[in-house]
């Protein structure tokens, strides 16, 4: 029984710049790994390699004990690796069910010949997945535009879960949220963890990462600077790894 998702010796270059240099990491099912690092440390690039946006020059990706090729975002989605970007990729003019089913709409046949959108089905399925995640949306018919930041985040997460995500990558999930909503997102992440998903959380909010992550991986200048068990470390140690003070001390 290995990791749910494991990447080995990933290197990604942009021209002469080495954005990610020989990085390996693994995430177990039912585990949350925090990915930390300063701007430009290579976190986003690494994530985009996993989600199929970039192709790495070197390295291997293993998912569910098999080596996989992820050449496009669609490949990642088909395997059940979903990425929730900071901008959430929601159509704000549409309502919650329309967003959950975007691109994969459920149709029904009327009058024997016409295929029309099955709103009733999409609404009841949406309600079920939201209930499963213990998420409250005032009215499913409201456009996303009328929802709060936390509710939008919840819709984006629900969409991944509905389409059977096995692995979730979350880019700054608590940025730009109020305190109460940050807590709600953390509760949701813990719930998903208990459902056996593997999760990578990228965040600048040290406090949130300490609350939610089992392990932390710190990147600096494209390299893996350290890997820590959350319970055995403290914010000072993490910060020193992020800025590179530890190496000076040694």
């Amino acid at each position: 029984m290995g990791y749910l998702l494991e990447v080995k010796n990933i290197t990604k270059r942009f021209g002469g710049l080495v954005a990610v240099n020989n990085v390996s990491l693994g995430v177990n099912a039912g585990e949350v790994v925090g990915l930390l690092g300063d701007n430009g440390a290579g976190k986003s690039t690494l994530i985009k390699v996993i989600s199929g946006v970039y192709r790495a020059e070197e390295g291997h990706i293993f998912f569910r004990d098999r080596e996989v090729q992820i050449n496009s975002p669609m490949d990642a989605l088909a395997m059940g690796i979903e990425t929730i970007y900071q901008d959430l990729a929601l159509a704000e003019n549409l309502n919650t069910p329309a967003n959950i089913f975007l691109g994969r709409e459920k149709m029904k046949r009327v009058l024997g010949v016409l295929n029309v959108l099955d709103h009733a089905y999409m609404q009841s399925e949406s309600r079920q997945v939201l209930e499963k995640l213990d998420i409250l949306i005032p009215s499913l018919r409201n456009r996303i535009r009328a929802l709060s930041g936390g509710q939008r985040q919840a819709v984006a997460i629900s969409r991944s879960i509905y389409w059977d995500a096995k692995f979730l990558i979350m880019d700054e999930p608590t940025a730009a949220l109020g305190v109460a909503e940050q807590k709600k997102v953390i509760d949701t992440i813990n719930l998903l963890k208990s459902h056996g998903l593997g999760i990578i959380v990228i965040s600048h909010q040290m406090h949130d990462v300490f609350q939610v992550a089992d392990r932390m991986i710190i990147m600096r200048r494209g390299e893996k600077a350290g890997e820590l068990i959350t319970k055995q470390t403290n914010p000072d140690e993490v910060v020193s790894l992020i800025v590179g003070a530890e190496t000076v001390k040694n």
Binding site: L77, A91, E92, L94, G103, R141, R143
Partner: protein, 350 residues
């Protein structure tokens, strides 16, 4: 918040309908002959061409674009169909064959401006405003090249029979009849009720409304207008979709031009020149957002009726046309301001 919002929200969503009712009352009282079967027929008849253009514009505006070519594609289509009908009948085709063939060929040719618009916008990333503005110029130029002084006449009289025919008649003592005009003795009371072109227009618009509201294609159209990146990440082929939208727009504009040719039995290169603005105004009055993602065909149709009633009502009152332009301008500003200041009230639910 909820209590305070109810009335303003009601007004925000229904001001166009209220305005329409007031407009009807106003002209019924002040414009002689407005409130009559004939008056209603005149308004509906005038609405047909604009309604098709505004429907086309709705589809494009929902994607977040704009199609400035619809007016001159319409004129282009009226000229092409008229010229084809004349040429075919001169080569010995029967009026039926000539007119039918001219319509079919024009519908096919009319897809071209839309294809160019779509490729420019979706593939070459030209802003819709510029792409469609260029195509507008090209179609206008070509239709002028084909004609002297922009007019194409001599169309077989069959066009008149179709364009100004009725599908529903009423004869005293014999009741209603469909399609064929009953022969009546002089002095018998008879009425022509439903103009054929109005019925054709309503059917086409109903299909477009269905497409936008009930189908996957429509849903993707809204998604593209709302957040094209989200649409792309959801696996929607946005380029192909946009090309299809501009082609449908062009198709509807072409149909509008053909209907113009049938109604007026002539082609005119600038037949739709004033409709370029009116079609956009109708969409905006209908509550669509020029930023994309919001708008429906039926509400656009309300915008069309408001403009048509205004045009015909003022005409029946004997008021100069420039007053109409002033009125349209004021309504447009009003519509945009409501959209600007109360977007949440107007667009809370879909």
């Amino acid at each position: 918040m909820k209590q305070q919002g109810t009335f303003t929200s009601f007004l925000g969503q229904r001001w166009a309908a209220l305005f329409f009712v007031l407009e009807l009352l106003f002209f019924s009282v002040l414009a002689g002959g407005f409130f009559s079967l004939n008056g209603i027929q005149i308004v509906l008849f005038y609405s047909t061409t604009l309604a098709l253009l505004a429907t086309a514009e709705t589809l494009v505006i929902v994607t977040g674009g704009i199609d400035l070519s619809v007016g001159f594609v319409m004129g282009f289509a009226s000229v092409v169909s008229a010229k084809l009908a004349v040429a075919l009948s001169q080569r010995g085709a029967s009026p039926e064959t000539a007119v039918t063939l001219a319509i079919v060929l024009t519908l096919a040719i009319g897809l071209l401006p839309g294809l160019i618009n779509g490729l420019l916008v979706a593939r070459l990333k030209v802003p819709p405003f510029l792409a469609t503005f260029s195509v507008q110029g090209i179609t206008y130029g070509i239709s002028l090249l084909f004609t002297q002084n922009g007019q194409a006449s001599g169309v077989p009289n069959l066009a008149n029979a179709i364009g100004n025919g009725y599908v529903l008649h009423f004869v005293a003592g014999r009741g209603f009849s469909l399609f064929t005009q009953p022969k009546v003795q002089f002095g018998t009371f008879s009425l022509d009720i439903l103009p054929t072109m109005v019925v054709v227009t309503v059917i086409v618009i109903a299909v477009a409304a269905f497409l936008l509201k009930r189908t996957r294609f429509g849903q993707h159209t809204y998604a593209i207008g709302g957040n094209i990146d989200a649409a792309i990440r959801a696996g929607i082929n946005t380029r192909r979709h946009l090309v299809a939208i501009y082609m449908i727009s062009s198709f509807l504009a072409t149909l509008s031009g053909i209907i113009y040719m049938l109604e007026y039995v002539t082609g005119k290169s600038d037949a739709g020149s004033s409709f370029m603005l009116d079609s956009v105004v109708a969409v905006v009055i209908g509550g669509a957002s020029l930023f994309g993602g919001i708008g429906t065909v039926w509400r656009t149709l309300l915008g069309v009726l408001i403009l048509s009633v205004l045009e015909m009502g003022l005409k029946m009152m004997g008021v100069q046309t420039f007053d109409k332009y002033i009125a349209v301008g004021i309504i447009l500003i009003f519509a945009v301001l409501i959209d600007q200041f109360f977007p949440e009230l107007v667009h809370k639910e879909d």
